[in-house]
Subunit: 110 residues, 2 copies
DNA sequence: TAATATAATCGTATAAATACGATTATTGAA
DNA sequence: TTCAATAATCGTATTTATACGATTATATTA
């Protein structure tokens, strides 16, 4: 089987003016992070509460703690949320700066 | 194994003011459509060319015709692109109206 | 120091996504 | 009508994502 597009080093992505590789990466990763029901739910929950601990999400979502932790990892690695350790808990909140950038990149795309 | 969040009929998603179920569905599906390298590439290609046939995409992308057809199906079902049959070809272009709506929904989210 | 609380990670099962070649359906041209 | 071109669909292999319970690591409290 051939490789996925992301694994082909000879493929040069379609260029857009004022659209860097980093911009492209942001659009890909943020879109991917938001394109899942559990993660969009975490996002909107956080957006309402401003910030919250994992415990609150575990109480709210009908998913196992380990599953939520996995989704939080995806959200964190894409930059959509940030987590600050505070005692035995971790305090999550939305990375507004990155989301503003995503918003402006979507604006550029259309 | 328990079901995925999307299959749980008892779970009521986190409500946001002025954010309907349809809005939520658009954010989910458009994000999912754009959150894949091949599909984002198709999107930017179309965005540059204004419109194009599948053949052009098959020439451009290092992927099999059947694979590209599958990605076009995802993009179509999310509403991101529209396809108009013209002879033996299909002419694709970006659904600007939906993308504008997505853009404004992301704006609402942040 | 021991017990508790919290969240991450590990191991693993299952489902979904991605990819291909082959086939099919449809349209337009010869 | 037959042939060629185009794109969708089928069947299938492989990878990735999603989910769980169990375990681990760390920090706070008793």
């Amino acid at each position: 089987m051939t490789k996925k597009l992301s694994e082909l080093d000879y493929f040069i992505p379609c260029c857009l003016e004022d659209f860097t590789d980093e911009d492209r990466k942001i659009v890909l990763e943020v879109s991917n992070a938001l394109g899942n029901e559990a993660r969009l739910e975490i996002f909107t929950f956080l957006r309402n509460k401003q910030s919250c601990m994992t415990t609150q999400l575990v109480d709210y979502l009908p998913l196992a703690q380990s599953t939520i932790s996995q989704h939080l990892k995806v959200l964190k690695s894409s930059g959509v949320i940030t987590g600050t350790i505070s005692g035995t808990s971790t305090n999550y909140c939305i990375n507004t700066a990155l989301m503003q950038r995503y918003y402006s990149l979507i604006g550029k795309l259309i």
